[in-house]
Every structure is written in structure tokens, then in C-alpha cells.
Amino acid sequence: MINKFSTSIKEIIATIFDGATVMIGGFGEAGSPIELIHALIDHGAKNLTIINNNTGSGQVGLAALIANGQVSKMICSFPRTANSTVFPELYRAKKIALELVPQGTLAERIRAGGAGIPAFYTATSVGTPLANGKEIRTFEQTDYVMERGLIADFALIKAHSADRYGNLTYHETARNFAPIMAMAANKTLVQAQHPVEAGDINPESVITPGIFVDHIVTVSLPQQESVLVAQGRTYP
């Protein structure tokens, strides 16, 4: 019987190896799989390349993973936010690498990677420093820059409901990068708030079909990054 639910966060995170590329869902704290990130801190895999829109805030979640010295490179569109100090300090000290990508190009690179498309052309960033060194091609008198699809060894994402086949739904704008990261990763690890029976999610309403999901753990009451930051919490 197929059952993608696991009772152990530790077990599903344990397969993440040193040097892995890991996509982490979330736009700011909305959709951030904070329990999975904290389990990755406990696990201790190092030299990771992390793909996320931001770089976390405070001393919890993604910011704590970076502060713990586990991340050698960030691929993101907006590496500074309110309460974001960990990444800027390490970046200025040249202790972490940054690949800055326009937000829509980042999303499309992930979508393309998940769809088996190695590269594509886009008008975004043409004529700016972010197109430097990249191939430019002209279609219908307009210039486009070539961008590469992105794939990852793992994706860590947060869902609202999940069934044993891995079908997922999301909550409000917490959906953001999760469905495309699930497609672009070799192994997709999910923390879901509500485990449901197969069939409880109307097939018309499935957002991520189970084929893109490998392991699910239930986290009924996920912590909220902004609440932890406001409390001055740190992890570990």
C-alpha cells in the first residue's frame, strides 16, 4: 500500500547529504516549513545550496540554518527583509555566496526545471547587470536573455492538507513556491497541517498531485516565524 506519511521528521530529513541543493518553500514566513528547517539544523548537513525567495529573519528557521554555518550559497531574489541580519553579515564577510535572480525568473527557472526544460528565454533583466555574461537572442525584434532551469536534490515545503498519496492543498498565499519546488526536486519532503483520507481532497481541488511528493509529516500546529522573532527566540 502506498503511504507517504512518516511519523518521524528526523527520519525523512536524515537523507539530506552534505553539498545538497535544497529548495525551501515560503515567501517570507508565509509557507515557510519551519519545523522541517529546524530538523535540518538538528541533522547538521553542511555546504548546502539553498533556493528560497529570501534569507529568513531573526534567528529561527532559514536564518538559523544560515547562522549555523550549513549554507554555502543562497539562490534568491530578495536577500534582505525586515529583521534579516544573519545573511547580510555573512555576505559582507564573504562567508556565503549569493546568486541574485529576479523573482519571476526564479519562479520560472524552478518551473522549467520541474518540467524537464534545461533553459528558456525571457525579457526580464535584459539591459541590466543581471543579464551580464548571459546569452541574448532576438525574437520578433525584441531581445531575450537565456536562463537555466533549476532542479534540486530536495524540496522542503509546507502544505495545508495531504493524503497518503501525497496530494496537497495549500492555504492562501502560503502556496507561493511550494507547488513548483515539489516538481523540481528529486525528493520532496512535506510538512502538512491536516492529514486527510484519500478522496477527502476533491480531485478538482488538488493543487500538487501526489506524484511530485515523496514523504509527508504531520505538523498540526506549526510555529510562526514572526511570532518566534517577536519573542526573540533562537534555534537551536
Binding site: F27, G28, E29, A30, G31, S77, F78, P79, R80, T81, A82, F87, P88, Y91, R92, L98, L100, V101, P102, Q103, G104, T105, L106, A107, E108, I110, R111, T122, A123, T124, S125, V126, G127, T128, P129, L130, E140, T142, Y170, H171, E172, T173, A174, R175, N176, F177, A178, P179, I180, I207, Q224, S226
Partner: protein, 251 residues
């Protein structure tokens, strides 16, 4: 996208010698040029104020690029959801009839030329419509771009809202931008505290002055040449529906 915009807006101070419009009036003026039924993306900061001034009888649909079409106003404190936020990561609401979607779909709306109008802040704009609003290129700064480059490359019409000069009184409307570009030849119209400017193949064409502001004063605070086009009524560039053609007024 750009938290940049907020910071830019915060740095901007109204020129004391010629106050012209305040920020609310700038937003109100820009809103008048958005047609009924438009799909609109508002940058973080001053452009967000445009939503307060929807002209009577018109309906705009707001897109926020983190994944919501049909964004409503801020919630009261008892109805905040940490999962329901805008591109500036602030709590918002969803109107009846709203839709959620993932990031690739959201940026397909932008990059696929489905969004009609975007209102953005600016650090510098050139007379050819080049926009710089994401980085000063300063050494040691943490570069952050967000969705700004996607918006200017893909949205049909780009409005800029900005103070006419920096708080030090330096021109922001230039012959050529000094800062790294967000996009070349992308700005269609500029709303400042002093005037409204249409960016055309001729350069900056001033089409309206704020009350009690004179043309020579504005020209003196604009580095590029300023053409007085107040007598002619330029058609609005909004909502052209040519999906493949760049709608910058230069093309």
C-alpha cells in the same frame, strides 16, 4: 516585489520651495489615469496609496505577485492571517471573487503581458524611459531585486510615482540613469509632486502641472530637457492589448 520602493519613498522629502501635490494627491492623480476593469499591480510604499483613490464608477483588480489576484484592503487586527500577505509581506485580505495561485502562474501573469498597469517607485528615470529602482550599485550593499525587473519587462504600462528630486534636491529625472537599471525603455508616465510627465520618443513631455507650480521651476529641477506639452492632450497609453509588442512609448 520591492521593499526598495518603501525605502525610496521614506527617503524622499517634499521639496519645501514648491510643494505641489502631497503624496495622497499624487496617488489620487495617478488613479485617475487607470481605466475601469484594469488589472493593476501596485509597488510597495507610496504606490500602494493609489488603491485609496479609485475614481467613482471604476473597478480595479489588484494583483500581488506572491500569489493573489483580487487583493483587498488591510484587515483589522482581529482578522489577520499570517498566510495572507502582499508582496511587501504585510497582511491583506482577499475580495469575494479572488484567486490564489503559485509563483510561476503569478509571474506568468506579469511576464505574459496580462497585467495592465504597474505603479512603481523610482530612484532615477531617464528621458528614454529607463528605470533604476533596485540598487544604487554601492560597494558593500546587499543586492535585492524582487519582482521589479519582471514587472517592468512584462506589464503593459508602467507608471512611476516619485518625488521630483531627491531630498538633497538632486534631479531624479535624468538624461541617463547612473544607477544600475531595472529595465531599459520601460516607463510610460511619471507622477511627481510637481507634475505629470509622459515619456515619449521625444523625451519628457510635461502634460500637467500641480497647482501653483510653474513650468520653469520644474524644468530647472529636471536634468533632461522638459517639453511643454500642456496644450495637447496625449491619449492614455493604458491597456494596449498587443501581446508581443513592447508597449514602452518608444517602441
Amino acid at each position: 516585489m520591492t521593499i526598495n520602493d518603501e525605502k525610496i519613498a521614506d527617503k524622499d522629502m517634499i521639496d519645501k520651495k514648491a510643494t505641489g501635490w502631497d503624496r495622497e494627491q499624487m496617488a489620487e492623480r495617478a488613479a485617475q489615469d487607470i481605466p475601469d476593469g484594469a488589472y493593476v499591480n501596485l509597488g510597495i510604499g507610496m504606490p500602494e496609496k493609489v488603491a485609496r483613490y479609485v475614481p467613482k464608477g471604476r473597478e480595479f483588480i489588484y494583483h500581488t505577485e506572491n500569489g493573489l489576484l483580487g487583493m483587498g484592503p488591510s484587515p483589522d487586527k482581529d482578522h489577520i492571517s499570517l498566510d495572507l500577505i502582499n508582496a511587501g509581506k504585510k497582511p491583506v485580505t482577499a475580495i469575494p471573487g479572488a484567486a490564489y495561485f503559485h509563483h510561476a502562474d503569478s509571474f506568468a501573469m506579469i511576464r505574459g503581458r496580462h497585467i495592465d498597469i504597474c505603479v512603481l517607485g523610482a530612484m532615477q528615470v531617464s528621458e528614454t524611459g529607463d528605470l533604476a529602482n533596485w540598487s544604487t550599485g554601492a560597494e558593500g550593499a546587499i543586492p535585492a531585486v524582487g519582482g521589479a525587473m519582471d514587472l517592468v519587462a512584462g506589464v503593459k504600462t508602467i507608471f512611476v510615482m516619485t518625488q521630483h528630486t531627491t531630498k538633497e534636491g538632486q534631479a531624479k529625472l535624468l538624461k541617463k540613469c547612473h544607477y544600475p537599471l531595472t529595465g531599459p525603455k520601460v516607463v510610460n508616465r511619471i507622477y511627481t509632486n510637481l507634475c505629470v510627465i509622459e515619456v515619449t520618443e521625444n523625451g519628457f513631455e510635461l502634460i500637467e502641472l500641480a497647482p501653483n507650480v510653474d513650468f520653469d521651476y520644474v524644468a530647472a529641477h529636471t536634468e533632461a530637457e522638459l517639453i511643454d506639452s500642456r496644450t495637447q492632450t496625449l491619449p492614455l497609453t493604458t491597456c494596449h492589448s498587443d501581446p508581443l509588442h513592447h508597449t514602452g512609448s518608444q517602441s
